[in-house]
């Protein structure tokens, strides 16, 4: 690890001293350095610097259109699927730039999984097939498929509900169950980071609570970065929070970041205070 990164962590630690969860041993899993993002000629995000410590949950909040979902998609190189996408700066995973020319985006996406706003189980596969889809699609070899299915479905909090109908079509599940199924699917390839793009926005309150519980459980083993519009959700699940904002016609940027308790309890910026109190956005 380079000395610059050590400095960064040191800075973080200074900032985070009030948080009881932060301990000096915490390592940075992913980090963004001076990230700016374009769609064709339009700049949508500017100068984003943020670090995601290992085995924590970071929430990205902010009003619609401030670029937080786009930012999330740059973290596992899905952003580049959109024609005309461009990027400046570096995204580092395990200290290495994931946009370096020699890096295979497919392997990046294998290590950094993602769960989307709308549950998207593969309709042509069974529940079991969906869980194992990642292995099939990435060509990854892992033994004991039955164990993987049970393990990941349990981790996603779905095992007891579906264990008797693993060979049914995934479309037969409810929306909340489908969302937990795709979480299980993302876990089956053993990712180190899980990106979640408003994973609960299409779900009812009961399913939302279940998914949140799943997120808390998962954060014991992996790093989670979640985009959410739901402030209570950020408070409930996230260790750290970053507040994104875009002024009219300008690219978005991070206004404030830090431990969730600080952002919500003692925000330094007036705009953050307004936003977390529901005064705009």
């Amino acid at each position: 690890m380079s000395s610059a990164e050590f400095e960064n962590i040191a800075t973080l630690e200074d900032e985070f001293t009030e948080s009881p969860e932060v301990t000096p041993e915490r390592q940075v899993e992913m980090s963004a350095h001076d990230i700016s993002i374009w769609f064709n000629k339009r700049k949508v995000l500017e100068g984003v610097n943020i670090e995601f410590p290992k085995r924590t949950v970071t929430a990205l909040i902010g009003p619609s259109g401030c670029g937080k979902s786009t930012f999330l998609r740059t973290l596992n190189r899905l952003h580049e699927l959109i024609p005309g996408a461009a990027l400046a700066g570096e995204i580092r995973y395990e200290g290495k730039d994931i946009y370096a020319p020699e890096v295979d985006p497919v392997l990046i996406r294998l290590a950094i999984g993602m769960v989307f706003q709308k549950p998207n189980p593969f309709p042509s596969m069974t529940i079991r097939g969906n869980v194992l889809a990642g292995l099939k699609l990435s060509g990854m070899k892992r033994p004991n498929h039955d164990d993987i299915v049970e393990e990941t479905l349990t981790a996603a909090g779905l095992w007891t509900e579906v264990k008797d109908r693993l060979n049914h079509e995934a479309g037969s599940l409810s929306g909340g169950q489908q969302q937990r199924l795709v979480i299980a699917r993302a876990l089956a390839v053993n990712p180190h980071v899980l990106l979640m793009d408003e994973p609960c926005s299409a779900l009812d309150p009961a399913s939302t609570l279940k998914v949140e519980e799943t997120i808390r459980q998962l954060s014991k083993d992996i790093t989670i970065i979640i985009v959410t519009h739901n402030m209570q959700q950020a408070v409930r699940v996230a260790d750290y929070t970053a507040f994104f904002l875009a002024a009219e016609g300008e690219p978005g940027h991070i206004v404030e970041q830090g431990p969730t308790t600080d952002i919500f309890g003692n925000p330094q910026d007036q705009r953050t205070l307004d936003y977390v109190n529901g005064r705009f956005g």
Binding site: H33, S36, E80, L81, A85, A86, A88, G89, P105
Partner: protein, 323 residues
């Protein structure tokens, strides 16, 4: 944090297929996607190559004369009558099919109750699905006797008009009957395109014109038809392309004569390039005549391709304006 020089901008869209397996996959798929190009180029090259010796031996008279005599020395091949005949049949078919198709689609889109419209859509699809050889069979045995009656009446009452003159008294194998069969083939093609185009008229515009107290006629005249004009013209040309290339249905009901029948549409005898090929192929006296037929096929291909490309360009341009 210390601000250094702004980081370099990286264009990402080019890195999409950087994975090796994907590059192979992309290459295979791209290759397959160009089958259409290979086939079209192949037709142009191979039939074009057959055209060269024919044009060499016949000169331009291949396109400007009406004599087809393989046994003469030297053999004579002229397809002007056929080219003209193809156009005449297409015009007759258009005159019948275009109003019918437009009325059908207007009725389906703007007037008919939904259930009736669904039934009619199925009727049109069914018509489109009937193979042309079956239409030819039907035309030969069912349409022919009826059409002869119609033509006799036309001749009886309107015979003074050159279009409806018939000197021979033979009302079978006329351009009118062949054009009518082509119209039956065209109606479903044109209708399905115009129906779709008219159906895309923005409902706001229709509602607005209704709110202004417009009648159906004014709505069509000033809203729907101008809006879909390109698509309608394109649909008609797609049907025209099909009519020019149709072989078998015409084969049964048209008496093929090499002399030009200019406009006596209810008089026996007419021409069609596509039908010429099939009718002469079976008894073609060997290589030179077959080659002449292939050359005729080349001109048929060139003509239909041109019509089809124009049609698609027109349809596409409307599509772009709409979206």
């Amino acid at each position: 944090m210390v601000q250094t020089a702004p980081p370099e901008v990286r264009d990402l869209s080019s890195s999409v297929s950087s994975h090796k397996g994907d590059r192979v996959f992309n290459r295979v798929i791209t290759g397959a996607a160009f089958t259409a190009l290979i086939v079209l180029a192949g037709i142009t090259v191979f039939l074009g190559a057959q055209t060269v010796p024919v044009l060499h031996s016949q000169g331009l008279s291949f396109l400007t004369t009406t004599v087809w005599n393989p046994t003469a020395t030297p053999a004579q091949y002229g397809i002007l009558g056929m080219l003209y005949g193809s156009l005449l049949l297409a015009v007759i078919a258009l005159v019948i099919a275009v109003p019918a198709s437009l009325l059908l689609s207007v009725f389906m889109v703007f007037m008919a109750p939904k259930k009736v419209a669904t039934v009619m859509t199925n009727v049109v699809d069914l018509m489109a699905a009937i193979p042309s050889v079956i239409l030819g069979l039907w035309a030969f045995y069912v349409l022919n006797p009826a059409a002869v009656e119609w033509q006799k009446l036309l001749n009886q009452y309107l015979g003074w008009f050159p279009l409806f003159k018939n000197d021979s008294g033979n009302f079978l194998g006329t351009p009118f009957i062949a054009g009518f069969v082509l119209a039956v083939m065209m109606i479903p093609i044109v209708t399905s395109v115009t129906r779709e185009v008219l159906g895309r008229t923005p409902p706001e515009l229709i509602n607005a014109s209704e709110a202004l107290g417009c009648s159906m006629w004014t709505m069509l005249r000033y809203v729907a038809i101008p809006f879909g004009r390109g698509g309608i013209v394109g649909g008609i040309m797609l049907g025209l392309g099909r009519a020019l290339g149709e072989t078998i249905a015409v084969f049964f009901v048209l008496k093929l004569v090499f002399n030009i029948n200019f406009f006596h549409i209810i008089q026996s005898g007419g021409g069609s390039v596509a039908t010429l090929i099939v009718s002469q192929f079976g008894e073609s006296s060997g290589n030179p005549e077959t080659q002449a037929l292939l050359a005729a096929g080349f001109f048929l291909f060139a003509g239909t391709l041109l019509v089809n490309i124009l049609a698609n360009l027109i349809v596409r341009r409307t599509g772009r304006i709409q979206s």
